[in-house]
Amino acid sequence: MMLKLVGIAVAAAVGGVAFAAPALAQNEQFIPALVYRTGAYAPNGVPFANGIADYYKLVNARDNGINGVKIVTEECEFGYATDRGVECYERLKKNGPTGAAYVIPLSTGVTFALTEKTTTDKIPIISMGYGRSESRDGSVFQWNFPLLGTYWTASDIIVQHIAKKEVGLDKLKGKKIALVYHDSPYGKEPIALLTERAKLHGFETMFLPVTHPGVEQKATWLQIRQNRPDYVLLWGWGVMNSTSIKEAVAVGYARDKMYGVWWSGAEPDVRPAEAGATGYNAVTLQHTAGQFKLHEDLKKHVYDKNQGSAKWDETGEILYVRGLINAMLGVEAIRTAQARFGNKPMTGEQVRWGLENLNISAQRITQLGFDGVMKPIKVSCADHEGARTGRIQTWDGKNWKITSDWYESDDKVIAPMVKDAAAKYAAEKKIAPGCLTN
């Protein structure tokens, strides 16, 4: 402990030098990193940020960058506060020889706030598994890329899984499904899909908001106890998730009737509840926990050289793996753009093209070391989501275990909703829908 304190004092003394932004050479690709390593959401923000940072380090160390272009990144701490997130973006967007390649906000609130700004700045937003669900329509949301899944996809997969358990969508009639959600744009996203599905199948919905940061949920769970819903969907983040599971234990609500979104299905969400979390489920953003092929390279090129951001044992955790995937998709988008524009640092506009033409096949996934972690993804102007599949995982008290087959969200339900919501947004913001060619 003493050593740690001395270390902190020394770090504070030399911090100005140690953390000063490096001078950027012309053959470097700058990628900003909006992170939250402190504050109420840090337990979830830290592993994700570590996964992203380590993937960039790996690409630089193993491949000498992306086709010879080194990645340079700078973290900006925003504590999951939307205003500070926007500040970070503004501060970093012009760094590097070509400005920010893309931005990963890891916050639906910041994604909402940046949606208009990035259009002007010509910097794409990668909101993998979050953001506006209708932003998958690339003709309206030309700069937003909610890759691998939106909240409508997530909630649809959960409804499909519940229907399978009940042996048919028609068996949902008369059932009661509650949504316990973070009272923010993020938490409210699945309401539209659940309302639509409720109309189609005749189940009853119950929406229960929890205010930030989500540590006070007693009244919410007393309502659940009193109304006895058949299933509870959890749309939380940070400490709200573990508090929900603990409160479910406190009111005796069965954990195997609970389904979290992929942001409510990581280790920090279940571990604090200890044995109480056993049986709790969450939909996956394709992947679950565990190390895989890529980790051999990570160990050799990053961790064995003491360059790792996390502890080695933590590199198989869900949010760390998600950070790796997110960074990989960004790097592959830059690589795709380079194939067209040349092996040099890409502008945000060029990376946007790369994202819109991203096509990662099963073979390429194997080459990249992500075999068994994710499925192929193909993005287009009409579909900025690129893939909408997921599975259900269940916490067995020690580990996450996949407990279902693959599901794909039902586009017969979602596509018309996307079309309507995107058209409404376009009318509101006076956007003429259309695909960008460059």
Binding site: M1, K4, L5, I8, R37, T38, G39, A40, A42, P43, V46, D183, F207, P209, V210, T211, P213, G214, V215, E216, K218, A219, T220, L222, Q223, R225, Q226, G238, V239, S242, T243, K246, V249, A250, V251, G252, P268, R271, P272, E274, G276
Partner: protein, 306 residues
Amino acid sequence: MLGPVLETLIGGLLTGVLYALVALGFVLIFKASGVFNFAQGAMVLFAALSVARLSEMMPLVVAVALSVVIMIVLAYAIEFLVLRRLVNQEGIILFMATLGIAYFLEGFGETVWGSNIYKINLGIPKEPMFFFESVFPGGLLIDREEVAAAVGCAVLVAALAIFFQVTRVGRALRAVADDHQAAQSVGIPLNTIWLIVWAVSGIVAIAAGMVWGSKLGVQFSISLVALKALPVLILGGLTSIPGAIVGGLIIGAGEKLAEVLLGPLLVRWFDLAGGGIENWFAYMLALVFLLFRPQGLFGERIIERI
């Protein structure tokens, strides 16, 4: 209907006790030094982090004892580095100083102890108890952890009451609370008294931190629980220990009943978009009290003759 209402009321009252535990720390320091200690929430977080991280390396009892030492050292540091230099300054200056302490403690605590969610296991079973199952369908639910916390809180309040009323130090604390300069003029060592009261407040923070930490897991959000103590203080008065308890109970019960009974009605009647009301309802309740009784339920009425 009676069952759910009763259950909510009991749950609210028990949560109120937990709020009171945090409010108690504010009251102690305000009574003795006239300082509104904005850092109380951060102290709760720091104390909880100390107990949680130390208990990973040693038995819980030893971790708590060591945390008491840490909080006393912290109290000394605050007294020596901050308060001593601000004696007889305006209240707002002292308040601003505690604001600085709060941010420092939060950041420093996370830097030293880490920002994950840590566990404090008090060994209390998490499963609920059910009573009167033959009277109410499903019975009346009581949270064991909250009952244990309420008992702990009662013991702590009794100990503090004895300390304040019976002991020599307690009387000196009250004298300092009435008038710093007058107390100094009769030989009461102001610095020592402040050190004692901050240390006692630190120990109360350990109790609050352990209870909240066991309930929520120990992480940054615990410091935000202090915000829930503010309406309790408005209601109960800044200078009254019984006020903190009664205020906590009213706020706890009021906000839970409002969320469960009033919230759905408001949404239905006014076709609102929804949203948890318990957070702002507590402040509204406190505000209404403030309009009619500015000194709070048990606070001392301030009369100044011109």
